[in-house]
């Protein structure tokens, strides 16, 4: 297998690339229009889908929102860098992170049947503490912005690599397409278009991977033999270097990415109560094959003996590079681009929808309780546009958003255990919650910068969890979780007054 034989497929024009980006958007806009007419009449419908999301839409939307554009490429990239050990450590915690939500979701859905956001839970759980609520709300907003940023960046990289499209135009077009259709139907649109995106990710991904192996002389056997001849450890899942290099850190990061993410909590409260556990279980299980399937493209890169320099210096490009340089039929390359676009669109509209729920419940209704339903409805919708515009502006400015990544990482990782304990352990108190997060960041982040991700992450987790438990044991006060049901001040009626 000679990498000299690889060449960019002809016919990948600017017009084709732009069409591929716009066509799904136009179809989704049509769906959003129907949703707006039939399912969305007020803010309550817009941000929580009247709590009527069932198993099918729940599973489809969770899979697509969890399949980031970067994740589609990262599964191939981690295999390319670490062999099957990289794929193992990238994939296994990914599905587990979705299923880890189940026990927490069951508790909160039972205790707060009319809940909207995780910040709202913290507000009532900790005696309306502004500090605790502000920390959690800020974490959610930063996390959402980062989700949009990363997916915009990933998609613009792929579109500008595969097609002769300027990455700035790709960024602008992506955000314009997604926000246009998301604006009309809120969560229902995110859920219904996200489910279609799951189809656009799964079936094309499987066919693309099989087509890639069919295109190579000798197929999977030739790839397998070439990788084995080059470095047999790439076919093992037991390389310790992958675990210490990124695996353990990623595992905790992924857990924080679901448990401390309003995108998932919004769905917990939007699902019908008898489908919550089943939906997250099935989503985690059915998610697993997607990154494993796409990870096989990394093996092809290894078999050809490609180096990061061959593919432009960034290993994330290995999947797009393999698909666009094997001489595959145009339809297969287009299918792969659709996989990336579907992953990108679904994550951005899911994140935007989550942002709208935070703005409505944790900002407008909390600080301006007299806001009328019609005003709230428009503010909520506009917040989605604002989030997308801010994210696009950051990407287009070309600034290094490392500081945003680090801030979000610090907040999400430090909040993980305190949040889990707040839900599951009644002795968790406000002092422990706030001090745990603050100390974890103050001590853990400097250690992380000196000793690296693994030590830093373990320190943050140890301190945040340890402080919460210590404070809980010392103060010895038990919170009555039944109060969450009694204290829920923002009922469904308050966000659906306009309903006729």
């Amino acid at each position: 297998m000679d990498k000299a034989a690889l060449a960019l497929s002809p016919g990948l024009t600017t017009g084709l690339g732009l069409c591929l980006m716009i066509v799904p958007g136009v179809i989704f806009l049509g769906i959003a229009y129907l949703i707006r007419r039939n399912l969305v009449h007020n803010t309550h419908d817009f941000i929580i889908s009247n709590r009527r999301v069932g198993l099918g839409f729940g599973v489809g939307s969770i899979i697509s929102v969890w399949t980031w554009a970067m994740a589609v490429m990262m599964s191939s990239a981690m295999t390319f860098q670490w062999g099957l050990s990289g794929l193992f450590w990238f994939v296994v915690p990914n599905g587990l992170a979705v299923m880890a939500v189940i026990p927490l979701a069951r508790i909160l859905r039972r205790r707060m049947p009319e809940g909207y956001t995780i910040s709202e839970f913290v507000f009532h759980r900790f005696g309306q503490s502004q500090i605790a609520t502000t920390v959690v709300t800020a974490t959610m907003i930063f996390g959402i912005l980062l989700e949009i940023l990363i997916n915009l960046k990933g998609t613009s990289v792929v579109m500008s690599t595969v097609f002769p499209i300027d990455w700035r135009w790709a960024t602008l077009l992506t955000v314009a397409v997604v926000l246009t259709y998301s604006y009309f139907g809120g969560l229902w649109t995110a859920v219904m278009t996200g489910t279609i995106n799951t189809w656009m990710i799964t079936v094309p991904a499987a066919i693309v991977v099989v087509a890639v192996f069919s295109q190579i002389d000798g197929g999977a056997t030739a790839v397998f033999s070439a990788v084995e001849a080059s470095d047999p450890t790439d076919l093992s899942i037991f390389q310790g270097a992958a675990a210490s290099g990124f695996g353990i850190t990623l595992a905790f990061g992924l857990l924080a990415a679901t448990v401390a993410d309003q995108t998932f909590w919004q769905k917990v409260w939007a699902l019908r109560p008898n489908q919550v556990g089943r939906t997250f279980m099935l989503s985690g299980m059915l998610f697993y094959p997607i990154p494993i399937c796409l990870g096989a493209l990394g093996l092809v890169g290894l078999a050809y003996g490609l180096t990061p320099e061959d593919i432009g210096g960034d290993i994330v490009a290995i999947g797009p590079y393999v698909v666009s340089h094997l001489g595959l039929p145009m339809a297969i390359i287009i299918a792969y681009v659709f996989v990336i676009l579907a992953a990108c669109y679904s994550t951005i509209d899911g994140a935007s929808s989550a942002l709208s729920s935070i703005v409505a419940v944790d900002i407008v209704k909390r600080f301006f309780p007299g806001t009328t339903e019609s005003t709230l409805f428009y503010v909520t919708k506009l917040s989605m546009l604002l989030g997308g515009i801010i994210a696009a502006a950051i990407v287009l400015s070309g600034v290094d958003f490392t500081s945003l990544v680090l801030t979000t990482y610090a907040l999400k990782t430090s909040i993980l255990l305190p949040l889990v304990l707040a839900i599951a352990w009644p002795r968790t108190n406000t002092i422990g919650f706030v001090a745990g997060i603050a100390l974890a960041i103050a001590i853990g982040m400097p250690l992380r910068s000196v000793y690296g991700d693994l030590i830093g992450t373990l320190t943050i987790l140890g301190i945040s969890g340890g402080v919460v438990v210590t404070a809980g044991l010392l103060l010895n006060k038990t919170f009555d979780m039944a109060k969450l049901t009694e204290d829920e001040p923002l009922s469904d009626d308050q966000l659906s007054q306009a309903k006729g």
Binding site: L55, V92, G95, M99, A211, A220, I237, L286, A296
Partner: protein, 103 residues
């Protein structure tokens, strides 16, 4: 076009048909029930035990990745299961009615 690719195209078409049949069913059901203003709180028909299924799913994923390094044929397991994901998503739209009835 290889025989294997043709088989996958057929499987993909079947999964697509199942998916969109379910999607249509789910959309109609969503529109029928959207005016229902009752806040459901009963989760008794939801799964009650999840520890073992989660552990088995994690183990299955790890095993499939491990097998990809044992023999080349196992590389095709994940693409098959990826198509199964789309099919099961479609079936889930019909299954939710069954779960609602508590059978």
């Amino acid at each position: 076009m290889t025989t294997l690719l043709i088989v996958f195209l057929v499987l993909g078409a079947i999964a697509t048909a199942l998916f969109f049949a379910g999607y249509t069913h789910g959309t109609i059901a969503a529109m029928r029930s959207h005016n229902d203003q009752t806040v459901e709180v009963d989760d008794s028909k939801d799964i009650q035990r999840y520890g073992w299924p989660v552990a088995l799913a994690v183990l299955a994923a790890a095993t499939i990745i491990g097998l990809m390094g044992v023999a080349p044929a196992f590389i095709y397991v994940a693409p098959v299961l990826t198509i199964v994901t789309a099919a099961v998503n479609g079936i889930a739209f019909f299954a939710e009615d069954r779960f609602d009835r508590g059978s």
